[in-house]
């Protein structure tokens, strides 16, 4: 079966900066797929190429069955993008922004009211977007991407700068869309977000995919669970837990244990293990 997003050997350089050096990706229909990577890894560049905003230097990319270079209009008809920078019109009101998008997408302007309610913007509907807070802009931005239900939705750091409640609203929206069969490609700095939303995750660094799989697979790959054994009279000990028997054996060996803790590797551990060294070199401050 053909993939909904299929990327092969994608390369892109800005002058001397080589950003993508042969990126490969395959995303299935209806899947929520997360791109992880340190600042400057090329996540936004990848999203911009896949959404026809930027021409790649080499390689191929197909979205919803259409080549992004040769058939950009067919790709555009199938996608929606919420970019890293909020793409809203500050001079218009929230309601006007949504009605404008509805008209451009050829749907009834009535969806505007629905979306305003859904993203908790009804009270601010008739205010100019210039006066919105960062979180409100972000929510409007997402609402503008959902005027029609796209076949493929691209979300570049959709929850950066949102408070926990708004973040939850965005997560709910993504999960609802996913359950309706929308394919979602999202980038994020919050590993919890990837863990919670995405079926599969690709870690990119140095312009390539360096690891790919489900959250569980990635965690299993870089670290095992560890058992931390605390004692009343001596320093704590850590033992790796790889098999079901390991915990029992550790306890038998340390009958004087006072307290035990089981540590699961988090996606953060995965992230640091995979990208730690290179991210320090790439972009130390930001």
């Amino acid at each position: 079966m053909a993939y909904t997003i299929e990327v092969e050997g994608l390369t892109k350089a800005f002058g001397d900066t080589r950003v993508l050096e042969g990126l490969d990706l395959q995303v299935d229909a209806g899947e929520v797929f997360a791109l992880l990577g340190p600042n400057g890894a090329g996540k936004t560049t990848t999203v911009r190429i896949l959404t026809t905003l930027l021409a790649p230097d080499g390689g191929t990319a197909r979205v919803a069955g259409h080549d992004v270079v040769n058939d950009p209009n067919a790709v555009r008809a199938a996608i929606s993008l919420t970019a890293q920078e909020a793409a809203v019109d500050g001079i218009l009101t929230g309601a006007e922004n949504l009605r404008m998008m509805a008209r451009l997408r050829g749907v009834k302007p009535g969806v505007a009211d629905e979306l305003l309610d859904r993203f908790d913007l009804a009270d601010a509907a008739d205010r100019r977007v210039d006066s919105y807070s960062g979180g409100m802009r972000r929510r409007l931005d997402l609402a503008m991407s959902l005027v029609v239900r796209p076949q493929v939705l691209f979300l570049d750091e959709p929850t950066t700068g949102l408070d926990p409640r708004s973040r939850r609203a965005v997560w709910d929206a993504v999960q609802t869309l996913a359950s309706e069969g929308v394919t979602v490609l999202l980038t994020t700095q919050y590993l919890e977000e990837a863990d919670r939303l995405a079926q599969r995750i690709a870690v990119i660094d140095g312009g390539r995919v360096i690891a790919q799989g489900t959250a569980a697979e990635l965690k299993a790959r870089v670290a095992s669970e560890t058992l931390e054994i605390h004692f009343a009279d001596k320093p704590a000990q850590r033992v790796p837990v790889n098999a079901p028997d390991d915990v029992r054996r550790a306890l038998e060996q340390h009958p004087d244990a006072e307290r035990i803790e089981l540590h699961r590797p988090s996606l953060d551990d995965v992230f640091f293990a995979l990208t730690g060294a290179s991210s320090e070199i790439a972009e130390p401050v930001r």
Partner: protein
Amino acid sequence: MTASLTFVGRSLRHSVRSVDALLTAILLPVAILLMFVYVFGGAIDAGGRYVDYVVPGIIVLCVGFGAASTAVAVALDMTTGVIDRFRTLPIASSAVLTGHVTASVARNVVSTSLVIGVALIAGFRPEVDPLRWLAAAALLLCLMTAISWVAAAFGLFAKTVEGANAMTFIAAFAPYVSSGFVPADSMPAGLSWIAEHQPVTPIVDSVRALLMGTPVGNSLWIAFAWCAAGIVLGRVASSRLFRQS
């Protein structure tokens, strides 16, 4: 088509809500008119009443100046994130620009009407002939559209607001080296050659002849040809630049 209309609505809203820019666009031309008629008017001899000679020039100056401000508006708009959203839509690439150009023409119609109204109060006495007025209005509309498209392309090319401002300067000064304010043959040889061959002169001459009831001659066709060329070039160039940037 729907997309273009939607963007026309967007740009008109932008125009009306940028109060400073709107006041400048409408009042500056009136100020220029008053300055020429009352401050310089007494000192310039153009044969006949100077107000009748200069008002067509002022009208063209105002149209040029107002339409050229489209370059700044477009450059400014391109810096906002919402443009990327439009670029990912399956719509004609020039639709956003059609909005800018149409709003620019609308602003110019308002300011030009105001200039003509004030000119009448200040003593401008044109011919009353509906056909000639209609022809003059058509030519001015073409001129607004042409300069607006060229300005849109310029604004995309310049990328920054500061760069785009250069267009406003060109449009504000080109009319001075034309028959707009003083007869071209009163200038030194080099300048008068430029004045006679640049597009502003046939346009001003046509507007003046149409409004004052003198013979129009070839200049009207030359004027329309320049405008048509501007519209085609501006449109093609700006569509290209819009997708590239």
